[in-house]
C-alpha cells in the first residue's frame, strides 16, 4: 500500500457494498491505520444505488470524501458509469463482470473483470459476491493480507451469523485467486 | 380454455415485488428471474395467457401501476 489508499465502492442497494467498505475500515482500525468510511445515505439508497468511500492511510486523513480514488469497485453498470471518471490515472477498477458487459474502459487505468455473481452462484450463495470482490481487491492491491480480513469476519460474524464465517472466507480466497 | 382477456405488463415499471402473483385466482403470474429490467428488478411475466379471466386482481394489487387489463369483447 502507498501512504494512503482511497476507494470508492458502489453497486445496487442489496449487494452489500456498505459492508465491504466497513470490513476494510475495520481491518485498517485493527492495524492502527487511520481510516474513514463514508456512506451515501438517504432514501434514494433504498432499492436504488448505494456507494461508500473508504480511505486508509498511514497519516492523518484530511478531506474525508474521496474525490479522486485510487480504486473503484463497481458492482454494477451504473456505478461504473458514475465513478469511473473519478479514478486517478494509474488507478485500478474492479468490475463485477457478471453485470457489466461490453464496457469500453479508460486506457490509463488498470481493469480487473471479475464475474463475482457467477462465482458466487457457483459457491452456492449470491450474497457472497461482495466477499469475492473483496478478495479480488486485496489480491490486486495487497492493502491487506487475507488474515486481516478474516479477523474482521470473526469480529463481524458472531452469534447466529457465525455459521457464515467459512463461506465468507472461502469466497474471499476464491476472489484473490481470480486476480493472482 | 380460451382466455377471457389479457394483461399488458409495462415491464420497465415493475419493481418485482411479487405482490400481484399472490392474488391471481388462476395462478398464471410469476416473476421472470431470467432477466432484470431497467430498474434492476426481475419483472412480472404471464406463464399461461390462455387462462386469464380478466379479473383485474393483479392490477388492483400492483402498487406501481404496471398492469393494464383488457377484456375480450365477444
Amino acid at each position: 500500500m502507498n501512504d494512503s489508499e482511497r476507494l470508492v465502492i458502489a453497486g445496487f442497494g442489496g449487494q452489500g457494498v456498505m459492508l465491504m467498505g466497513q470490513i476494510l475500515a475495520q481491518a485498517a482500525t485493527n492495524e492502527n491505520l487511520e481510516t474513514v468510511w463514508i456512506p451515501s445515505y438517504g432514501p434514494e439508497s433504498r432499492g436504488g444505488t448505494a456507494n461508500c468511500f473508504v480511505t486508509i492511510s498511514k497519516t492523518e486523513i484530511n478531506a474525508p470524501v474521496v474525490t479522486q480514488s485510487d480504486t473503484l469497485i463497481a458492482m454494477n453498470q451504473p456505478s461504473l458509469e458514475k465513478f469511473e471518471s473519478k479514478v486517478k490515472t494509474g488507478g485500478r477498477v474492479l468490475v463485477n463482470a457478471s453485470l457489466v458487459k461490453d464496457h469500453t474502459f479508460r486506457e490509463d487505468i488498470e481493469v480487473f473483470n471479475i464475474p463475482v455473481n457467477d462465482i458466487a452462484l457457483e459457491l452456492g450463495n449470491l450474497k457472497v459476491a461482495n466477499m469475492i470482490m473483496l478478495g479480488a481487491y486485496i489480491g490486486a492491491s495487497k492493502v491487506f493480507k487475507p488474515e486481516a480480513l478474516e479477523t474482521v469476519f470473526k469480529q463481524k460474524f458472531t452469534g447466529n451469523k457465525a455459521k457464515l464465517l467459512d463461506l465468507n472466507k472461502q469466497a474471499l480466497l476464491r476472489g484473490m485467486k481470480e486476480v493472482s | 380454455m380460451a382466455a377471457k382477456g389479457r394483461i399488458i405488463i409495462e415491464q420497465d415499471k415493475c419493481k418485482g415485488c411479487d405482490l400481484c402473483t399472490h392474488y391471481c385466482p388462476v395462478n398464471i403470474l410469476e416473476l421472470d428471474t431470467s432477466t432484470t429490467n431497467a430498474l434492476g428488478y426481475t419483472p412480472l411475466k404471464v406463464t399461461d395467457p390462455d387462462k386469464c379471466i380478466a379479473c383485474s386482481f393483479c392490477a388492483m394489487m400492483c402498487p406501481d401501476g404496471v398492469i393494464t387489463v383488457e377484456r375480450f369483447n365477444k
Binding site: 466497513q22 482500525t29 474513514v36 463514508i38 445515505y41 474525508p64 470524501v65 474525490t67 | -
Partner: protein, 355 residues
C-alpha cells in the same frame, strides 16, 4: 485504549453515555437517526432513560423537565427539528437548565435535503428563541474530537447551568472512524444541584423552582444581567480554536467542522505549490474565538472564510476583523460537500485577482 471503529452518530451516543448522560429525549430525523437508535438499546442497559418523544417540541420540553429535576440530559436532532426546539431552548437558557443539544445539520431552508450542510450557523449561534440569551456551541471536525467534546459537554452544561449545543453535520453523523472513547477529556461527575426541582423539598428544607417568568420588568432585567455575566464568563473561558500553519501565512482560512477538515487538504496542496495559507479553526462557534485573531503574524493580508453555507460565520469574522484584513468567502450549500480542489482554485483565483 484501543480505538474502535464507529459510525459518527453511534460514537456520539456512546460519548454521551461516557459523559454521564442520564436521560435522552428525541424524535427521529435524518441524518442523526443512529444516535437515538443506539441509545434506545444502550441507555436501558445502563439503567438510564430513553424516551422517543412525540415531536421535537415535546422532546426539548422533556429535556427541560429532566434537566430541571437534576439529571444530565441529551437531545439530538437535525436542522428543521432544531428550529422547532427554539422556544424550548430559550426557556432552558432563561431558567438556567443544563443540557446538551446535538444538531446533525443538513441542507435547508425548509425541508431542504438530508445531505451535510453548515447552514444552521446562525440558528445555533444566534438562537432563534426570544430574548437575550446564549448557548455554548462547539463544532468538532472529526469523530475523535466529537466524542471528546460531547463527553465534556455535560460537565460544561452543569458548570454554567446552561445548554450546550454541538454543531455536527451529516458527514460527521454518517461516517465511520476509529475513535478512542476513553481518551481523557474534562469529564467530571455530576455536581450536587442545590437549585434543582428534584422533589426533595422536605429533605432540602426549601422549595426549588425552575422558572423563566419575571412579570416585573426590573426583575427580568436583573435576571438578564445576571445571565449576561455568565455569558461574559463563557466568552472569557470557552473560546476554543486551533491555529494551523498561520505562523507565516498570507491568506488565513477561517473554517470549522467538516469544512475545516476539507480545508486541511487544500492547505496541503497549496503549500506544496508554495502558497502560504493557514487556518483559524474555530472549535467553539459560540463564543466565537476572537482571541484567535489577536496575534496573527504581519504576513497575513486576507481572511478567507469557508463554509458549507452561503455565508453565515463570515458575519462573526467581520465583527472580529473590524477592517483589519481583506475578507473573502467561499461556500457551497444545500448538502454539496466541496472538494479540496475547489478551495485550491478559489485561492489561485484570489492570487490571480491580486496580481
Amino acid at each position: 485504549m484501543a480505538k474502535v471503529l464507529m459510525k459518527g452518530n453511534e460514537a456520539m451516543a456512546l460519548a454521551a453515555i461516557k459523559g454521564g448522560c442520564d436521560a435522552f429525549f428525541g424524535y427521529p430525523i435524518t441524518p442523526q437517526n443512529e444516535l437515538p437508535e443506539y441509545l434506545s438499546k444502550h441507555m436501558k442497559e445502563n439503567g438510564r432513560v430513553f424516551v422517543q418523544a412525540e415531536s421535537e417540541v415535546a422532546a426539548i420540553n422533556m429535556v427541560y423537565g429532566a434537566g430541571g429535576s437534576g439529571a444530565r440530559v441529551l437531545t439530538s436532532s437535525s436542522s428543521p427539528g432544531i428550529a422547532l426546539k427554539q422556544e424550548g431552548i430559550s426557556y432552558l437558557a432563561g431558567s438556567e437548565v443544563p443540557c446538551v443539544i446535538i444538531n446533525v445539520m443538513r441542507g435547508g431552508p425548509g425541508l431542504g435535503g438530508i445531505q451535510p450542510a453548515q447552514s444552521d450557523y446562525m440558528q445555533i449561534t444566534r438562537g432563534g428563541g426570544n430574548g437575550d440569551y446564549h448557548t455554548l456551541a462547539f463544532a468538532p471536525e472529526n469523530l475523535q474530537e466529537t466524542v471528546d467534546i460531547i463527553k465534556e459537554s455535560f460537565t460544561l452544561a452543569d458548570e454554567y447551568r446552561n445548554p450546550v449545543m454541538i454543531a455536527a453535520d451529516g458527514l460527521l453523523g454518517q461516517m465511520m472512524e476509529p475513535v478512542d472513547l476513553e481518551r481523557s477529556s474534562n469529564v467530571k461527575e455530576a455536581p450536587l444541584k442545590p437549585w434543582a426541582a428534584t422533589g426533595e423539598s422536605g429533605k432540602r428544607g426549601h422549595r426549588n423552582k425552575i422558572v423563566s417568568l419575571f412579570l416585573d420588568p426590573n426583575d427580568l432585567e436583573d435576571h438578564n444581567l445576571k445571565l449576561q455575566k455568565k455569558y461574559n464568563r463563557m466568552i472569557d473561558e470557552q473560546q476554543r480554536f486551533e491555529m494551523i500553519h498561520t505562523e507565516d501565512a498570507e491568506i488565513v482560512f477561517v473554517a470549522y467542522g467538516s469544512m475545516a477538515r476539507i480545508a486541511r487538504s487544500a492547505i496541503e496542496t497549496l503549500r506544496e505549490k508554495g502558497i502560504k495559507v493557514g487556518m483559524i479553526r474555530p472549535i467553539s462557534i459560540w463564543p466565537f474565538p476572537e482571541k484567535a485573531f489577536e496575534n496573527l503574524p504581519k504576513s497575513v493580508h486576507t481572511l478567507l472564510t469557508l463554509e458549507m453555507s452561503l455565508g453565515q460565520m463570515i458575519e462573526d469574522v467581520k465583527i472580529v476583523n473590524q477592517g483589519r484584513y481583506k475578507l473573502d468567502f467561499f461556500g457551497r450549500t444545500g448538502g454539496v460537500v466541496p472538494e479540496p480542489e475547489e478551495i485550491v482554485e478559489k485561492v489561485l483565483a484570489m492570487k490571480e485577482g491580486a496580481n
